[in-house]
Symmetry: C2
Subunit: 472 residues, 2 copies
Amino acid sequence: MLTYSFENRGGQSLYEYLYNCIKQDILSFRLTPDEKLPSKRALSKHLDISTITVEAAYGQLMAEGYIYSVPKSGFFVSHIASSEKSPAAYEEDSDTYANESGEEYFADFVKNSAANDTFPFSVWTKLMRETMSDEQKKLMVNSPSVGILELRKAVADYLYRFRGMKVSADRIIIGAGTEYLYSLIIQLLGRSKRYALEDPGYRKIYHIYRANEVDCVHVPLDENGVDVKKLEKTAADVLHISPSHHFPTGIVTPISRRYELLSWASKSPDRYIIEDDYDSEFRLLGKPIPPLQSIDVLEKVIYINTFSKSLTPTIRISYMVLPEALMKKYNETLSFYSCTVANFEQYTLASFIKKGYFEKHINRMRNLYRARRDELMQAIKSHPFYERVTITEENSGLHFLLSVDTDLSDEELIKRAKENGINVSCLSQYYFDKRNNKEHTLIINYSGADRERMKEAVERLFDAVNLMQNVK
Amino acid sequence: MLTYSFENRGGQSLYEYLYNCIKQDILSFRLTPDEKLPSKRALSKHLDISTITVEAAYGQLMAEGYIYSVPKSGFFVSHIASSEKSPAAYEEDSDTYANESGEEYFADFVKNSAANDTFPFSVWTKLMRETMSDEQKKLMVNSPSVGILELRKAVADYLYRFRGMKVSADRIIIGAGTEYLYSLIIQLLGRSKRYALEDPGYRKIYHIYRANEVDCVHVPLDENGVDVKKLEKTAADVLHISPSHHFPTGIVTPISRRYELLSWASKSPDRYIIEDDYDSEFRLLGKPIPPLQSIDVLEKVIYINTFSKSLTPTIRISYMVLPEALMKKYNETLSFYSCTVANFEQYTLASFIKKGYFEKHINRMRNLYRARRDELMQAIKSHPFYERVTITEENSGLHFLLSVDTDLSDEELIKRAKENGINVSCLSQYYFDKRNNKEHTLIINYSGADRERMKEAVERLFDAVNLMQNVK
């Protein structure tokens, strides 16, 4: 209902002030033509003023044509041709954020649109409806800080079946996205720790640590992942890695290096490894790789993963698995936090996993991605300039690397691709220490690629890359 | 599907190892009797081993009676009388968190069960279903970091109509709970700031600041809210308050003190006020109080509020309104964060507000709470020992204060009430500086009170408080 404060009305009487407020709202279209005004009684009760005051204000507005009355029905806003528009009225037309990613490309090899066009809507809606009708009582019981037990059990079961991890549900914490979970980890491990990140790597992870004002260093990778000698030199306490599938290089850290990393962690009680397993579901070929967590007998690994990647980023549900000591610390020091995911979604997801839909969805997605990749590879291989490019890491996750033989700078390369309608990124963009840069290596994320456009997309890309130039 | 890592199989052959893994899973009931095993082909493909290996392992398991085959259908787990149970199998029966708040009282005057039993399920389900069917495309577009525009507009409109705040949608940030938003505020304002909290006040807010390792002090209140002279002495930069309705005292900060607080904030560019307006919707009587934000011309106030309180705590949606400079800073430095609320819920809530359901819900709740309060007051007033208690702050929010004339300590008081089946808290529990303690003042939160039990609840409470003792 209309709400005005009468505290700052200056010398105006209550009725004058109310009249002015409503008039202002009509002129600024806060109140729209033909909108019904509250009854005099209701408004006077709401604003705690007398009905006589409201009557006087309405009378004045009527007299001046700002409102009209319909007998036995009430008061309505007139159609006013106004030249005054409040800033608020203009806002409706624009939004600073709406076009954030609004650029349209012929083909986008950057955006991780993953599951957005294949989200299992009908099943999800069905389960949501079932949850809403069957579980009303449970839905209204506050979730434990760590998340609903049903969901934690479903996740534990999933981790066992798909990742070979033996994890108890009471070691799992559910949260609204991995970004939020990182902040919990920082609170758990303490802000005085030094965190080491992979170089190259996701810049966002760095931003999160920096926004949380923790000390953050980068460790270069060799062909097997994090270089342990260099890691030692950084004097870091906590290592944040994606050993199952590193972005953007695609490196899979082999078992021997994994043990070296665990051995590094074992050397001080302060040391921990955060294993970010964000897209392990989508590895397309080869044996499933056991997570670091599953071979960690010294309880040094914090495992973290998300459904936002495997289902859709528009659902914010992630989870982490904590070592016993950290779980104890969480329960003692941080369990005052409310769980950040709504009950509705926790129960719906639990049911989605338990009933086997998640497994089906993952399989379907893998087949889809495999088909997209194969088609794209085919398009590249059949291109006349195929010999001038090198493809690596094509089985891991949703992208591969395409090294091209060109004289152009990476910046120029990206710019030219854009001009040809192709959005693409380069490995060099993910390096912090530019001395280690690898030039001329494109990252081709095919998760959102349109199969019908593949052939032309490759032609446009190869044209932009300017391979021709070098050919005589 | 069954997933095992073959990396650590020691001297065992692939088939032996697979046989042992499956056997172990059957014995530990990870695989349950009559459960269907994957086909040989599917499993061999999944594990990237030959079908012959799988066949050999299945053959061995069959020979030993762990599994059985049904012609043309496949392999199934036998019924095994096992003495070995894995720890995981036991887990199912217990949960550390399930009984967190499982104590049952005859009447609970502590729990803020607010809307849990009155959540408008059918409308919410209807809107959710509409959202899922009408907005599929929009639902799959990632939310801006600050939240979906529709929801921010709906909130802006709501704030204007109900709180008299003129706020543009691009100053609003949506997040999964106020606790999460506090952490964003800390990141925005910086960790080197000193934060001042109200004493008495919610301990949880203090815990959050401490978990984020920021410097935190308490300022005592006088009868009008935060004592500005004492605030000055703390050398705090940021003040976190609830001027519209302070918990637990119920103090409403008058306009003069509000200007004093704004004046305090104006004295340094580093100073800000966080206005936590968490249950202003439920004020039962009197003029709506204009938020500090609405009289803040110097852009010093961060306004924060939540739907978790007014709808149900099991939905995690809160929002804050930032001053221009801080919004700019957010966009520049923190907008890499993903919004923590799922699109589904953002669109559903936007529609719930826009279609007027939220307004209806609030009105309904207010009437309900008013009726509960009146009934409880009646029960107290008609009790023979009514003259030995004093009631204050009965119009603000969902609780009032009940001062009792007794010789018992507060601790003893609470204990005795519990023995009588009544859960109640005392004002003294919310003081940090115990020198300012007010003894013998009970906080009566009636939001979840059962109207039929009110009379007896009052009798039990008064009996516990031991008023009789002092009567001749």
